[in-house]
């Protein structure tokens, strides 16, 4: 793995999230009926940060949940890199809510597909919108994001890594090149 380019740093990520928060509020006309659900693991932290941004803009704290989509994936195999199943923590009713699904990188769309399946098992939201920090293209399913922090076109041998202070010790978005 070789680091090829640094796209965003701490301040850049912060500014992007503030912008996305504004877009979410604009589109949903405020915080009424709004809730956030982040996909484990980095999506969960981004959802929490968006919630903070929304609070500082609107002075209202919207509900935030965490979704573990491991059990909804269409492949058991790829889990090798992700050894453990974690809990889903959505302790509020999502029915009739405007639910913002949050993830770090949108790529093939399979994770979002799994997340949608999982959410439907929890209730019937009025609408589900997707917010991602990075869209890197290469979709394999008819899925698009409603809110995109940054579009980063990538080659197939590249991946985008979002690093967050909560897990990785610092905030940054980088493109890395896969070996071979």
């Amino acid at each position: 793995m070789k680091e090829k380019a640094r796209i965003l740093e701490k301040e850049g990520i912060a500014r992007t999230l503030v912008r996305v928060a504004h877009e979410i509020l604009e589109k949903n006309k405020g915080t009424k009926g709004l809730c956030l659900v982040g996909i484990r693991s980095r999506g969960a932290f981004l959802a929490k940060r968006l919630c903070d941004c929304i609070e500082s803009i609107e002075h209202v704290r919207v509900a935030v949940g965490i979704l573990d989509i491991t059990l909804y994936r269409d492949d058991l195999t790829l889990l090798a890199a992700q050894p453990q199943v974690h809990k889903t923590e959505i302790d509020f009713d999502i029915t009739d809510q405007h639910l913002i699904l949050v993830d770090d990188v949108l790529y093939t769309g399979r994770t979002v597909r799994a997340a949608l399946d999982a959410l439907i098992d929890f209730g019937r939201p009025k609408a589900i919108q997707l917010a991602v920090l990075v869209d890197r293209g290469h979709r394999e399913l008819p899925i698009r994001a409603d809110f995109v922090g940054k579009n980063i076109p990538t080659a197939c041998n590249e991946t985008v890594e979002v690093r967050l202070e909560e897990v990785d010790g610092k905030d940054e978005v980088v493109i890395v090149e896969k070996n071979g």
């Binding site: 195999t77 050894p83 453990q84």
Partner: protein, 319 residues
């Protein structure tokens, strides 16, 4: 927090073969699965399209149902094959039965068998995952895992706990699996039974042996009370029911001398008035029904992990 390691095995045959980290992984995974059973829609598609066969050579209701519910909550298809008569009388060998089931493209076989080592033998001959649901006197790993899961949930840890196992240790697969699991996780284990129900050289595993129920109870954080299988009774040395209750039964009076928060477990079904009094079985110390609930989460975790482990093995072979 213990280092997490990925699950790499296709089978779960016993706890003696597992590392501490693997046991912790099952327990942590079960923790996540417990949430699924609390939802309104108690189902996830993790094992959708996969088939689980419950192959039971011994009569069993609770273990079989628990595995069935666990598999169904993972969206697997479940087939129950119960052979009330033993495999011996059926004529077909266990391996033939296993390969025939495998030819139906089954992914996981959950097997309960009256002979020790049967699950291991099946696993060695099949590519499908095998989960041991109890083999002879050997092991009953998912029962021990749910016991340990319940203990961990109640007391927050296993390391350093004192756990006493009371009853027919000699003929108990539940006892053996509990001993391995608890010792690996750092508990101090005492086994308590009349001398003829203590198996040879058991102290070499690292457990303490006592024949006094009061000694077993006095410093224990938890007591796991085994079912006395009086129907077995081939051994002439087997004690009578009343005599057993008098000497080893768990009663309110005996618990009064134990630690205040002592936890009472039982794998079920209970012989009320033999292994413990009804008062104790239904009392504040008892976590017997929670064990049943936790059994689902633990078995979901096990089914999920062995399926995943087998996928990884298959992938490695095709590379």
């Amino acid at each position: 927090m213990a280092e997490t390691i990925p699950w790499t095995k296709k089978d779960l045959l016993g706890l003696e073969d597992l590392q501490k980290e693997e046991i912790v992984l099952i327990l942590d995974t079960a923790d996540s699965f417990k949430e699924v059973s609390s939802r309104e829609i108690k189902k996830v598609p993790a094992l959708r399209g996969r088939t689980v066969v419950n192959l039971f050579y011994e009569p069993s209701t609770r273990t079989r149902v628990s595995f069935e519910v666990a598999a169904k909550r993972l969206s697997a298809d479940v087939i129950n094959i119960a052979s009330e008569t033993s495999s011996v009388r059926k004529g077909e060998t266990l391996i033939d039965t296993g390969t025939n089931i495998e030819a139906l493209k089954v992914d996981i076989i959950v097997v309960r068998h009256n002979y020790s080592g049967a699950a291991a033998m099946l696993a060695g001959h099949l590519k499908a995952s095998v989960v041991n649901a109890g083999d002879g006197w050997h092991e009953h790993p998912t029962q021990a895992l749910l016991d340990i899961f319940t203990l961990r949930e109640k007391l927050g840890r296993i390391e350093g706990l004192r756990v006493s196992i009371v009853g027919d240790i000699a003929h108990s697969r539940v006892a053996r699996s509990n001993i391995w699991g608890l010792l690996k996780l750092g508990a101090k284990v005492t086994v308590c039974a009349p001398p003829m129900l203590i198996p040879a050289a058991i102290e070499e595993t690292g457990v303490r042996v006592t024949h006094s129920i009061d000694e077993a109870l006095c410093d224990a954080d938890a007591v796991n009370v085994l079912r006395m299988q009086f129907e077995r009774d081939e051994e002439d040395a087997f004690p009578r029911q009343l005599e057993y209750f008098k000497n080893f039964g768990i009663t309110k009076e005996r618990l009064a001398n134990a630690k205040k928060g002592i936890i009472v477990m039982h794998p079920g079904p209970i012989n009320r008035g033999v292994e413990m009094s009804s008062e104790v079985a239904d009392g504040a110390h008892s976590v017997i029904l929670e064990q049943v609930t936790n059994g689902i989460a633990v078995r979901m975790a096990v089914l999920f992990l062995v399926a995943q482990g087998n996928e990884n093995i298959k992938d490695a072979n095709t590379d």
